[in-house]
């Protein structure tokens, strides 16, 4: 009798053990496949990847009337850099180019010779990473350059736009994907926000560029001194840039730039010019529904200059003139525009130079810290000017810490300090370090700005028209 009960107990326990041992335990919380972080500004990643992708939204490159474009690819390692570049244009034509960049060198793709178009972009994929890619707009009215995007996004923002006196403000939608992207475009002109039906459901074919000229007749935004734009993709992701041609209204020249892939609460500028011959304004766009107060703080000067908070109503774009800051001395300066209401604005600086009658306008998006708060101590310049250039780099030291900073030129044997630019004392937060690239070793090369502090590095490179400059950021490492 006891044995019978024992057997029963064994059977029951066996069943329980069987169920228990074969039961799959699944996590109660949602598993993470990939941690999502908001897009950052173009950066040189040190991540161990099998391919590194750069997306150049596009520059005018018809090859006619001195309207040319180029893609610059720099190899920041001693090993050959292999990859492919898919050149795309506004007619949805593609050209595939194999890339082989020798160690510590730079190569250039001539866009108008490869695949001419009213707007030509590129998708550059580099095996194993370790490259730098930027696009150059080469135009008789002035050259400009901007780093290509390292992220795609479903939303993009541009604070500045200008269509006065026939100026062209072209929004460049580049689709690097192999399927059509559908996007909508809204713009704000001062106090008015508009979302025309004609800009809703815009299709951008696979691997192509689509150009929306907001200054064109019938486009709905002619003669606007302020024209902020947001682009949102309802299906897929894309890369957005802007090509501006200024023909009057106080602005002249051309500029090709990348839009901001995300809103932020702090926008930094390192190379402000508040002196004779320069006219600046900061354009602040708040595409959210809520009003935002933005504080402008001017740094890199003796003391700190501030203003009353700048009110930017929801959906509106506001311009701020630094001349209104009485404490701002006539010098180079850095600035930060910040709000306490979280990521809600995008800020651009418009600089118009008037040097002995030669006028050139350059628009530059502010820099942001990485979403995790990281600021780079090493910045890269894919290709320095082809001629000695004074005041080519403006460096602001974010940390109030002593140290040294070096500018290295990358040659066939690797990075070497540029004579006179090695181990320079880090500028205190009360000044901006201005670097001249006049040594022959610094001409026409990839450059590395290196320090153990956190810095911002702004480029001021010649436009090709007298000594006017095009402004853009170097590429942070991180």
């Amino acid at each position: 009798m006891k044995r019978r009960y024992l057997g029963l107990v064994v059977v029951v326990l066996g069943g329980v053990a069987l169920i228990g041992s074969t039961r799959t335990t699944l996590p109660a919380e949602t598993t993470t496949f990939q941690t999502q972080t908001p897009a950052w500004m173009p950066h040189a990643s040190n991540a161990d990847v099998i391919t590194e992708s750069w997306f150049c939204p596009g520059v005018p490159a018809t090859g006619q009337d001195d309207v040319n474009g180029a893609i610059v690819i720099a190899n920041r390692s001693e090993s050959p850099l292999l990859g492919t570049a898919i050149i795309v244009n506004d007619r949805a034509q593609n050209a595939r180019i194999d890339i082989n960049v020798a160690g510590w060198s730079t190569t250039t793709i001539d866009l108008d010779a490869t695949l001419p178009g009213a707007m030509v972009g590129a998708i550059v994929e580099l095996e194993g990473g370790g490259g730098l890619v930027e696009q150059q707009a080469l135009n008789a009215d002035g050259d400009s350059q901007a780093a290509c995007a390292t992220d795609t996004s479903s939303e993009w923002y541009l604070a500045d736009g200008f269509t006065v006196e026939g100026s062209r403000n072209q929004i460049v939608l580049m689709n690097p994907y192999e399927q059509t992207v559908v996007a909508s475009l809204e713009f704000a002109t001062g106090e008015i926000t508009r979302a025309p039906g004609s800009y809703s459901g815009l299709t951008v074919p696979a691997r192509s560029v689509r150009v929306i000229d907001l200054g064109a007749p019938g486009a709905g935004a002619q003669s606007e001194p302020r024209l902020a734009v947001q682009v949102k993709a309802s299906q897929g992701r894309l890369v957005v840039g802007r090509s501006q041609t200024f023909l009057g209204g106080g602005r002249l020249g051309t500029q090709a730039a990348l839009a901001a892939p995300a809103l932020n609460n702090q926008w930094w500028f390192a190379g402000g010019r508040h002196d004779e011959g320069y006219d600046e304004e900061y354009v602040i766009y708040n595409p959210t529904d809520d009003d935002v107060e933005v504080d402008a703080v001017f740094l890199g000067i003796e003391g700190i200059a501030t203003t009353d908070p700048i009110l930017v109503p929801g959906g509106q774009v506001v311009a701020f003139d630094p001349d209104s800051v009485t404490d701002l001395p006539a010098t180079r300066y850095a600035a930060v525009f910040a709000t306490l209401t979280g990521p809600s604005v995008v800020v651009e600086r418009v600089t118009t130079q008037n040097l002995d009658g030669t006028v050139a306008t350059s628009v530059m998006l502010g820099a942001v810290a990485r979403p995790d708060g990281y600021l780079a101590g090493t910045w890269h310049v894919p290709l320095s000017p082809g001629a000695p250039t004074a005041g080519a780099l403006s460096i602001y030291n974010y940390d109030d810490a002593e140290g040294t900073i070096s500018v290295l030129a990358v040659g066939p044997s690797g990075p070497v300090p540029i004579p006179g630019l090695a181990d320079l004392p880090l500028p205190p937060p009360s000044s901006v370090l201005v670097v001249d690239l006049t040594d022959p070793a610094a001409v026409g090369r990839e450059l590395i700005v290196q320090t153990n502090s956190r810095i911002f590095v702004e480029r001021s490179f010649p436009t090709g028209r007298d000594d006017t400059r095009s402004l853009s950021w170097a590429i942070p490492e991180g």
Binding site: M1, R4, V11, G15, L18, I19, T22, R23, T24, L26, P27, T30, T31, T32, F33, Q34, T35, Q36, A47, D48, V49, I50, T51, S53, L82, G83, T84, R96, I123, E125, E127, G128, T152, P176, Y177, E178, Q179, A206, Q235, G236, R237
Partner: protein, 443 residues
């Protein structure tokens, strides 16, 4: 998962029923056990009622279009396009068929096009192709490439699907969240496009896909000779057209092949060969994982597979082993075994020559007889047998050789000297039948 314990429970129930019938009804008399069993069986039937109602039309109230059925409509096979496969990735609970684990809470499985049947319920062993899929998933997860489509293309993966609801484990009302960031990560891939379909599935189409059986030419053929993910993500895969359609379902027919490479998205196996006219093309690894054939001259090609010569022998051994298992499970015994058992019992348990042997009577009469001597103490279960007899009898009846050897029937006595009933039970069944016949004749 519960099939094993359920089957075990059913087997135990069946065994207990048969055993109980043999021991309680045939071997003993009518007692409280029989009505109890009857009540239990009635209760069993009543207990089944809710289950029967729950079954309904057989769907167990599962969604009318569960994932497995839905998938068959979304990914139908179109021979003109060539064979393709579907990669499902997501929470393992919502995968349409059992898959592999990529990480805790994240599973994946690669299926052929078309619908599912019961064979898809069997989990498959890992192959080098699964390793390649897992590597591709890992590269997507850590953001190492935006060209996952190219990594999956040589494996014939045309669609990547993240199941959100399956109508059973995950429903619209009570969905299981997909692994965080998986849809965004897939959407960021340059060669995976959104594919519109049922809202319970996030579907992506692989724009770099080429068929499971494909004719490769130009740069694509050259790329297939190389291995490594870093090579594959840079490869130009545009030079591929469908070939050997049906190879994925084992229905390959001879196909026109051209100079270049014939690719089949099956893990490399040297037993494959490609017959083109009078020549046989040996295989080589394609993209480091699959099977490829370099074709020099055009012709009609036929994929052949040479079976392992020992396979037939192994199958034969397997069949024999099954036969042995079935024989053992059926309880069949050799005649000499029966004789030994009968002789053993006859010799050790009962002495039929004793003069006190009782006249034959049926079990019920024996149990109701008034002349039994209470030689074993209490009968706690009130079945007419003392407890000691119950234990010993059970051991003997169900075969416990050790204990059975120690068991000896008591020297029963009654008023009429009746003691042969137990002896009759101890007889071999044949003998017992004879005995019953004789008794029936007497009555």
């Amino acid at each position: 998962m519960l099939a094993v314990p359920v089957a075990l429970g059913l087997a135990l129930s069946a065994g207990a029923l048969a055993g109980g019938f043999g021991s309680d009804v045939l071997a003993r008399g009518f007692g409280w056990r029989q009505p109890t069993a009857l009540v239990a069986n009635v209760a069993l039937v009543l207990g089944l009622a809710p289950a029967v109602l729950a079954i309904g039309d057989g769907g167990w109230h599962v969604d009318r279009t569960p994932l497995a059925r839905l998938a068959s409509t979304q990914f139908s096979a179109d021979p003109s396009d060539g064979d393709y496969r579907v990669l499902y990735i997501g929470d393992p609970r919502v995968l349409p068929v059992p898959g592999h684990e990529y990480a805790p809470g994240i599973g994946y499985v690669v299926t052929d096009s078309g619908g599912f049947d019961f064979t898809h319920r069997f989990a498959l062993t890992n192959t080098s192709a699964d390793d390649a899929v897992e590597r591709a998933i890992g590269l997507i997860a850590n953001g190492s490439t935006l060209r996952a489509g190219r990594l999956l293309a040589p494996l014939g993966v045309r669609f990547v699907v993240v199941p959100l609801t399956d109508g059973a484990n995950s429903t619209v009302r009570d969905p299981i969240d997909e692994p965080a960031g998986i849809v965004s990560a897939l959407r960021g891939q340059l060669d995976l496009g959104d594919y519109q379909g049922h809202p319970s599935l996030e579907m992506f189409i692989n724009r770099a896909w080429f068929p499971v059986g494909a004719q490769l030419t130009g740069a694509t053929a050259e790329a297939s000779a190389e291995a490594g993910d870093e090579v594959l993500v840079q490869a130009d895969l545009s030079g591929a057209v469908a070939s050997m359609v049906g190879i994925d379902r084992g229905q390959s027919v001879p196909y026109e092949v051209l100079p270049g490479t014939v690719h089949i998205a099956i893990p490399f196996d040297e037993r494959f060969s490609l017959d083109v006219g009078d020549s046989v093309v040996e295989p080589r690894p394609g993209f480091g994982v699959t099977t490829a054939f370099d074709v020099a001259n055009p012709g009609v090609g036929d994929i052949m597979y040479e079976r392992d010569s020992t396979r037939t022998w192994w199958l034969t051994v397997q069949v024999l082993l099954w036969i042995v298992v079935l024989v053992l499970a059926s309880g069949a015994r050799y005649p000499f075994a029966r004789r030994r058992t009968a002789n053993l019992i006859d010799e050790t348990l009962i002495d039929l020559d004793e003069t006190s042997a009782a006249p034959a009577m049926i079990a019920g009469e024996a149990l109701s007889g008034s002349g039994w001597t209470d030689a074993f103490g209490d009968d706690t279960d009130d079945d007419g047998y003392d407890d000691g007899y119950d234990d010993g009898y059970d051991d003997w009846l169900h075969g416990d050789p050790d204990d059975g050897a120690e068991f000896a029937l008591p020297a029963f006595e009654n008023e009429s000297g009746e003691s042969d009933e137990l002896a009759r039970l101890a007889m071999p069944s044949d003998d017992r039948d004879d005995d019953d016949d004789q008794r029936g004749g007497q009555s």
